[in-house]
């Protein structure tokens, strides 16, 4: 039997959530969910772990701060100390208050851009990438559950379709993969 992908299309995010919960309870694996906007509360239902992008951002921020500290230390204290209006320049800790705005800005710069670039790469959204949503309506007003028969061998495809029909589904599409 050829493997099939089943797309169950819903008109409301709450209906989709109810259906997803029902499928998971019956032991059906949900491959993915496509929607025009984030459906709050879907992640625990279909078993998505929390993203670690926040940690990535923190690490990039720390990297930025360290680079800024290193740079200001090298330029203003080590390489060429300058006497500007009698401000102390012999030790870093004496002069660091004057560098706070730059340290802050550089931390934010690295944290924001580091996270944004990681986000785009992890999502595989980069210039020129092809769209991967199964149905153009999923970016407009439809909410789609994607199921694969190969991941649900314990259920017959017909049984899954029957289960979907019991939910307030708008349309069911099947495709060979």
């Amino acid at each position: 039997m050829a493997n099939k992908v089943i797309y169950a299309i819903y008109e409301d995010p709450e209906e989709l959530k109810g259906a997803a919960r029902k499928l998971i309870t019956a032991g059906v694996q949900v491959r993915d969910v496509f929607s025009p906007f984030p459906i709050h509360g879907i992640d625990p239902i279909i078993g998505l772990k929390r993203t670690r992008l926040g940690i990535v951002s923190f690490m990039f921020g720390m990297m930025g701060l360290s680079l800024a500290v290193l740079g200001t230390y090298y330029m203003m204290i080590y390489d060429w100390p300058m006497n500007i209006g009698g401000k102390p320049n012999h030790y870093y800790y004496q002069n660091v208050t004057g560098f706070v705005p730059v340290l802050f800005e550089f931390t934010v710069l690295c944290a924001a851009h580091g996270m944004a670039i990681t986000y785009l790469i992890r999502n595989k959204t980069l210039p020129g990438m092809p769209a991967r949503n199964p149905d153009p309506r999923s970016t407009n007003d439809k909410f789609i559950i994607e199921l694969r028969t190969e991941e649900n061998t314990q259920h017959a495809p017909e049984a899954i379709t029957a289960m979907l029909r019991e939910t307030p589904v708008f349309e069911i599409n099947e495709r060979q993969c």
Partner: protein
């Protein structure tokens, strides 16, 4: 599902569905633009071209073509810079600070406000660049290894802080704006029918597919970027104010400058948002999304920040007078300013920034589209005068009376300023025509809690 109190007025009027929101936002992109649009675009681009011409003339001749003199050696250039940066504060404030405060009304205004922010900061960046005189040496502001000379840039200097603050603010705002745009470009990609538009939005949407993991990451990125952008918004104008506050000029050397400048920036930024948005909602049929309530909320922000600015003026006036120092007699907030040769500029500031915006305390006026628009223009003018007063009035009475003088702008001063307004409006008009002007997918998330036709369903009738 999130519930909203029934007594709150709806944020989306009429009986709209998810599909209607997409169709409403895509309509100006798919349909032919009106003749008024092309007329406005032509006028704006002619002014922009004139501005580019003035800037090229300025660069080729040097900044002597401006009206600067020995006493007033900073005038319209920095006035315009601070004015544009101030305007550029509303967008990121709306999208970042109001996101952290869970203000849902921001969803209808954030996209266009952020676009305005980016274009305004671009215009702001023009002035420090061209006022250097030798723009081809502009890269000296970056801490580059110094084979050019023997010195590094000075990290103690407020002017260098500005370089870092403005460039960080611009690039982070741009990234924040674009990350929000990606899903909306994907919606347009799947919605439009013409082939070249499909491929245009296909490229811009970066292949967004809207699966659950992508949305989860999207929300995390939006939240963390909002958290990073919030202190950034406050830092940028604080740093701009230190350009003045760390100097020794009477009137500039003031410790309340950072918070006062930030409040002023938000004040003028929201005024510019109103100026643009109130026209756009009519021209692009967005009346259902940018409602009277949105305008009232924005006017309340204007009232609060305008109040802070008024208190700052009063403090400056009082402290200058109370110090009894003669030099303080001629600062921009002083008896000398109010009665001297620049009295017209002083009173323009008081009238445009305190008295006329004070009318917003009347509910009738702050909920009226016409008056909100008219007052927003007055505030834009008033905030330009504020910066002009701070810069020129504080300088025009030098320590020696022999140095006392007035500032007379040359045609190049006017041309470079008006030119940037032209460039700004050209960019904004292009944005309004080709980009989704509302964060349409974000708006869909509040349709079933704040939409007019769903409002009744949230609570049963008896509980109204």
């Amino acid at each position: 599902m999130h519930q909203e109190a029934a007594i709150r007025p709806p944020l989306i009027l009429g009986h709209r569905t998810y599909g209607d929101i997409t169709a409403d936002v895509a309509a100006p992109i798919e349909n032919k633009a009106s003749r008024t649009y092309y007329l406005l675009l032509t006028i704006a681009s002619i002014i922009a071209l004139y501005g580019v011409g003035c800037i090229l003339y300025l660069i080729s001749k040097g900044i002597g073509v401006w009206g600067l003199n020995k006493t007033i050696n900073w005038a319209w250039d920095i006035t315009n810079f601070v004015w544009w940066v101030g305007i550029g504060h509303a967008g990121t404030l709306i999208s970042a600070v109001l996101l952290l405060f869970r203000q849902r009304w921001r969803m209808a205004v954030n996209r266009s406000a952020e676009a305005m922010t980016i274009f305004a900061v671009m215009m702001a960046a023009v002035f420090p660049m061209i006022h250097m005189g030798r723009i081809w040496l502009a890269y000296f502001v970056f801490p580059l290894p110094n084979q050019f000379g023997s010195l590094w840039v000075n990290f103690n200097s407020a002017l260098l802080w500005d370089v870092f603050a403005i460039s960080t603010y611009f690039s982070v705002s741009l990234v924040y704006w674009y990350i929000g745009l990606i899903p909306d470009f994907a919606t347009l990609r799947d919605h439009v029918s013409s082939k070249w538009q499909k491929s245009f939005y296909g490229v811009l949407s970066f292949g967004w597919s809207g699966n659950a993991k992508a949305w989860q990451r999207f929300e995390e990125v939006s939240l963390v970027l909002a958290g990073l952008a919030t202190p950034l918004v406050f830092s940028v104008h604080s740093v701009v104010s230190t350009d003045f506050a760390t100097s020794l000029v009477p009137g500039w050397h003031s410790t309340i400058y950072p918070p006062y400048f930030v409040a002023g920036a938000i004040f003028s930024g929201f005024a510019m948002v109103q100026t643009l948005l109130l026209i756009m909602r009519k021209a692009m049929n967005l009346e259902a999304y940018v409602t009277r309530k949105h305008v009232e909320y924005m006017n309340i922000v204007i009232m609060v920040t305008g109040g802070i600015v008024a208190v700052a003026y009063a403090t400056e006036f009082f402290m200058g007078w109370y110090s009894g120092v003669e030099y303080e007699y001629y600062t921009y907030m002083s008896v000398g300013a109010a009665t001297g040769q620049y009295a017209w500029a002083f009173w323009a500031l008081i009238i445009c920034n305190i008295l006329i915006p004070g009318l917003l305390w009347f509910k009738k006026i702050r909920t009226s589209f016409f008056w909100a628009w008219a007052i927003s223009i007055v505030i834009n003018v008033g905030m330009w005068f504020e910066r002009f007063d701070i810069i020129v009035l504080c300088l025009h009475r030098d320590y020696l009376p022999s140095g006392w003088t007035m500032f007379h702008p040359s045609w190049m001063d006017v041309g470079t300023f008006v030119g940037t307004i032209g460039i700004f409006f050209t960019l904004y008009l292009l944005f309004a025509r080709y980009f989704p002007v509302l964060a349409l997918n974000e708006l869909k998330t509040i349709l079933k809690t704040s939409g007019e036709s769903y409002k009744g369903e949230v609570l049963p009738k008896s509980q109204h």
